[in-house]
Symmetry: C2
DNA sequence: CCTTGATTACACCGACCTGTGTAATTAACA
DNA sequence: TGTTAATTACACAGGTCGGTGTAATCAAGG
């Protein structure tokens, strides 16, 4: 059937298929037999490349650990562009939420899964933080966390609602957060030009609450 | 052993236990035998109260469908207070993310589960929106969505990171979004008092990107 | 006392799961 | 050609799962 098993990429083919099935149908919902059958190989071959399903799961998550590539666009464009690519992915029929969050939800007690998921979340936060630093944002760390919340929030919402406009809402919020982030030169107080950001008057009683 | 089975609340005891186990360990990870054993009843009794595990799952999610109670606190205080109670729940050892998101992640294809999850998410968004309307926020609908993103984002982040300060970050972001939300009286343009919101100068290149 | 209904213990079914053992087959390479 | 390594088909072990069937037990109310 398949003209060339091509030797070396057998492992990659297994990973590709496992990725697709695990992600779309859920990890616990897909057995190793299903993965093997989907490729058209024997279960034995799969176990010749991965010692256990746990190993396959770990490799699947590692493979998903891809950060956005370096870009020459402006930091702000890259940050806001994140939400545009999110919206694109939301529109695809193959979108099923964040694979790391899903994996933790499915296999909560598993220590290794948690480790990979945490590393991924943190690396994206750092990605935001570095771009914010380039923008001379004062609290780059804090804003980066907030942006990460918007990303994961829109992903979770879209998982259940299947409404790609969630990405646009997140982008709008991100813009506000960016526009209201102080720059490092702000530190010595003072200097207040006229209010710029679209509308910037506090809602009557939204000043202090807790 | 148990002095009084009390007849009628057998069903409730089953639900209580199923809730705890499903939520903490995952739905697929907990069998009906486990639920029955945990209560000390026979599997047969469980099936006398619920026709199938699917029915038990549905009842579990329905039971989780609780909205925050009516309050006499100011709308802004209620909105921001949401993130305080989130932080409290994050700190608890029994926190394991959003049961609805987790259920959809685990049982994606299931139509009924999705319906309940969507209804829950939407009802919380509406809760936000009504409070925002009381604050005369112009785009109450949009801001409500953004707040919902922050809630679900902090929940997802906390699920994998186990870091309750995520709630504080979400609250900070929510404050900024609130402070920058226009009121309905803003509509006819004009009227700009001095800039109030903490710091409100746009980051150098964060004005436009896409 | 007797009836009624809930609960129990327990075996059992068929399906699916991860993982292994084994002998035969294939293909590359010397 | 012979050697080696990968892959195949297939059976099987041991476990868990959702769900049912059945006969015995228990408790309450008439």
């Amino acid at each position: 059937m398949t003209p060339l098993p091509a030797k070396q990429d057998m492992k990659e083919r297994i990973l590709e298929t496992a990725d697709r099935l695990f992600y779309l149908r859920g990890i616990r919902a897909v057995g190793v037999d299903t993965v093997a059958a989907e490729i058209g190989i024997s279960k034995r071959t799969l176990y010749n490349h991965f010692p256990s399903k746990d190993a396959l799961i770990a490799a699947y998550l590692q493979r998903r650990f891809k950060m956005p590539p370096l870009s020459d666009k402006s930091p702000a464009a890259q940050i806001l562009g994140t939400f545009d690519s999110l919206e694109r992915r939301f529109g695809s029929a193959n979108f099923r939420g964040c694979p790391f969050v899903n994996a933790v939800a499915e296999l909560g007690e598993d220590r290794g899964v948690r480790r990979i998921a945490v590393a991924f979340k943190e690396s994206r936060r750092i990605w935001f933080r570095d771009l914010l630093t380039q923008l001379d944002v004062a609290d780059a760390d804090g804003i980066a966390t907030q942006l990460a919340l918007l990303v994961d929030g829109s992903i979770a919402q879209n998982l259940v609602r299947d409404d790609p406009t969630m990405a646009r809402a997140a982008k709008a919020a991100a813009r506000v957060l960016l526009a209201n982030a102080g720059t490092t030169e702000d530190q010595p107080t003072k200097r207040d030009r006229s209010t710029r950001g679209a509308r910037a008057r506090p809602t009557t009683s939204a000043r202090k609450s807790h």
